[in-house]
């Protein structure tokens, strides 16, 4: 069985660690987990290798999660990779915008491992 390769994008290194830990606490059998601090770094990671799942913050300096999503859509190798936004945004409009440009779902911070599992598991089932 293939172990999914995951990209976590957040300007907070603490939050990246918490997201990864939460994925593992949720019992998800992950393969390689790569971290990026903003959309620019994330695009570079995507150009270097294929991911089975991307979890991205929205509000980041340099390149935010929405612009990352837009540019991700132009990378042939990334087409079909599910992206879930992990955000503090209480704004429905920003979340709706993310969904309209390709995000498969969103997780609102603060979150529990169970909430991550609920959102992410169906997307990883497709990979398997």
């Amino acid at each position: 069985m293939k172990r999914p390769r995951v990209l976590i994008v957040d300007d907070s290194s603490v939050m990246r660690k918490i997201v990864e830990r939460s994925l593992r606490q949720a019992g998800l059998d992950l393969g390689d987990v790569v971290q990026a601090g903003n959309g620019i770094e994330a695009l570079a990671a995507v150009r270097e290798g294929v991911f089975d799942l991307i979890l991205s913050d929205i509000n980041m300096p340099a390149m935010d999660g929405l612009e990352f999503l837009r540019q991700l859509g132009t990378i042939e190798a990334a087409k079909g990779t599910p992206v879930v936004m992990v955000t503090t945004e209480g704004s429905e409009s920003r979340v709706v915008e993310a969904l309209s440009i390709g995000a498969k779902g969103y997780i609102r911070k603060p979150f529990t491992p169970d909430q991550i599992k609920e959102r992410v598991s169906p997307l990883l089932e497709v990979v398997r």
């Binding site: 300007d11 907070s12 290194s13 603490v14 939050m15 660690k17 918490i18 830990r21 509000n59 980041m60 300096p61 955000t87 503090t88 945004e89 209480g90 704004s91 429905e92 409009s93 609102r108 911070k109 603060p110 979150f111 529990t112």
Partner: protein, 164 residues
């Protein structure tokens, strides 16, 4: 124009009597989920003036303009970071990052509880100030909501300073 900023002109949101309890609740929820800690509400003279050498702040723009900040001492900040990460020892460089994220989540949680704000107020990327020899001075008249909360045996303050 950004819709959130445009709405400031059309529908500025003013605080009401429910906001202090919503701010208190927002902070408690974030700490319960992310720090696995139940904060307690502190009242009395100690609650009135925020002190401490670690301050994280997030700006708000749009239907509500102001700043939300969390202030505590460095020992509390390190403890919060350790519990967030599930580690006994923390890298000093991660402390500011962790407190900034907590502040960001409290601000997001708070605005999400107020329907008129949720879609019409934007948050800035958080900033952290280290040191305690400073004073927050509002440049214009405005409201201020301060919650003093007990983390273990130490107080921390969650404050919302609103520009009029």
């Amino acid at each position: 124009m950004n819709p959130a900023l445009d709405s400031k002109i059309q529908n500025p949101v003013r605080p009401d009597s429910t906001w202090p309890s919503l701010l208190d609740c927002s902070a408690k929820e974030v700490f319960q989920i992310m720090v696995q800690t139940d904060l307690t509400t502190i009242s009395g003279p100690i609650a009135e003036v925020a002190v401490g050498d670690t301050t994280a702040m997030v700006g708000l723009a749009g239907a509500l303009c102001g700043v939300l900040y969390i202030r505590c001492n460095s020992h509390t900040a390190e403890s919060i970071t350790g519990r967030m990460l599930g580690t006994g020892t923390v890298n000093p460089s991660e402390v500011a990052d962790a407190i900034a994220e907590i502040c960001n989540m409290v601000a997001g949680n708070f605005k999400g509880k107020i329907t008129r704000l949720a879609d019409h107020c934007m948050l800035s990327v958080p900033t952290v100030i280290r040191g305690e020899d400073y004073e927050m001075v509002a440049i214009a008249d405005g409201d201020r909501i301060t919650c003093c909360l007990g983390y273990d045996r130490s107080p921390l303050w969650v404050c919302l300073a609103i520009h009029s």
